[in-house]
Symmetry: C2
Subunit: 235 residues, 2 copies
């Protein structure tokens, strides 16, 4: 039975909307489109067939097992296999840098917010939650195919590749407030792990910032903090 493998070369876009986004935005990555035998043969189905044919992606309509293996509780009728692929991040614009993020749902939501704020690139410092996991992709609501991303073994590797730009680590120990700081561009907004945040060593990286917040909670949820920072950098 086919199933998603973290160390394998392919992943899967689950659901009609994601398959359409894959075929429209990154057709060069798509290797197979599966349509469940249970899928109603309606107008959406016809459009999907037409698009897959136009993009020369093979269509498979008689493999029901793969839907059981991949879609879990969700009632998915369409899915696509695609090649995992990293992109070179542009030196311009705003980057989001996630250092050791551990939650796939957060990662998907962050990709969604990154697309909403036209982020130029997403850098993930490993070890990290699997950005290619179908659950991450699904929680990105299609944004996965819009935001260039790359994995790095260390923050030093990322910084070496990017060179001169403004680096803003978001840390509770920072003394500067994001709302009182005029953010330079290009810049990197840097966030730590959900449970532990960034290590103190990041206090020496660029200009550490914090989001103003009460003492009633330890911190904001990671995806909420990233979204606020992106908003602050965009206005």
């Amino acid at each position: 039975m086919e199933k998603y493998e973290k160390d394998g070369p392919v992943s899967y876009a689950l659901g009609t909307q994601l398959v359409f986004t894959l075929l429209s935005e990154r057709p060069e990555l798509a290797t197979k489109v599966y349509i469940s035998p249970k899928q109603v043969r309606d107008e959406t189905y016809a459009k999907l067939i037409a698009l897959a044919t136009e993009k020369k992606v093979p269509l498979i309509e008689n493999n029901e097992k793969i839907f059981h293996a991949l879609s879990g509780k969700d009632n998915v009728m369409t899915l696509a296999e695609f090649k995992k692929s990293l992109q070179i991040l542009p030196k311009e614009g705003i980057h989001v840098v996630l250092v050791n993020p551990s939650n796939m749902g957060n990662l998907g939501t962050i990709i969604r917010s990154a697309a909403a704020f036209n982020v130029a690139g997403l850098a993930i410092i490993t070890p990290a939650a699997d950005i290619y996991d179908p659950k991450t992709i699904r929680s990105s609501m299609g944004a996965f195919f819009h935001v260039p991303f790359h994995l790095y073994a260390s923050f030093a590797d990322y910084q070496k590749e990017m060179g001169e730009r403004a680096y803003y680590p978001f840390m509770l120990k920072a003394s500067a407030l994001v709302n009182e700081t005029a953010l330079q561009k290009p810049c990197s907004l840097i966030f730590g792990n959900e449970a532990t945040g960034l290590p103190d060593s990041y206090l020496k990286v660029g200009m550490p910032l914090k989001i103003p917040q009460s003492s009633l909670v330890d911190s904001l949820n990671l995806d909420n903090a990233v979204s606020i920072a992106l908003y602050a950098a965009s206005i």
Copy 2:
């Protein structure tokens, strides 16, 4: 076997941190504290016993079944039962109003952000995800016991109770941008359901606002949108 009931009079705080927060912030609601027979009898345990005793909350140390029934996959060693209770929302300050939110995880995260930005009250228009569900409470990371909330059968009921204040429905169809608007206080930041947003009728309520975003995604995740709006209203 005891388990959480949506229509019952009590709910449960799962985990040591939440139990401490309940006993410190809302001891009048706490009815029982359960400590698992497996809990190590360490310093934290001693503090918990002392606090429960001080607050006159009965301690139960020999009921292992309730941990299986309530804690699911999480390895919880301490929990507390507490009375469900609504609070009267203050007329001052910032309110978050959620119209028919459907996701318990989002609700918990929104409560966490509401506490981070010192929100004076959270109004939930039913039908809605269960704010008392132990999963909601747990995802609020303790903020559940810091943010006053109330349930309303309709937005009209809420508005009638609150009277004169600034109402800001967040809608994709709004023409005013939140970052170009000086928000008045007291105010209500109003958000619709995760999938459907607010109905068009809210275009006639107060001053509809939108968060600037690209066309690459349909919308932001609900808790991210709420967090951005709270940040915008706080700076």
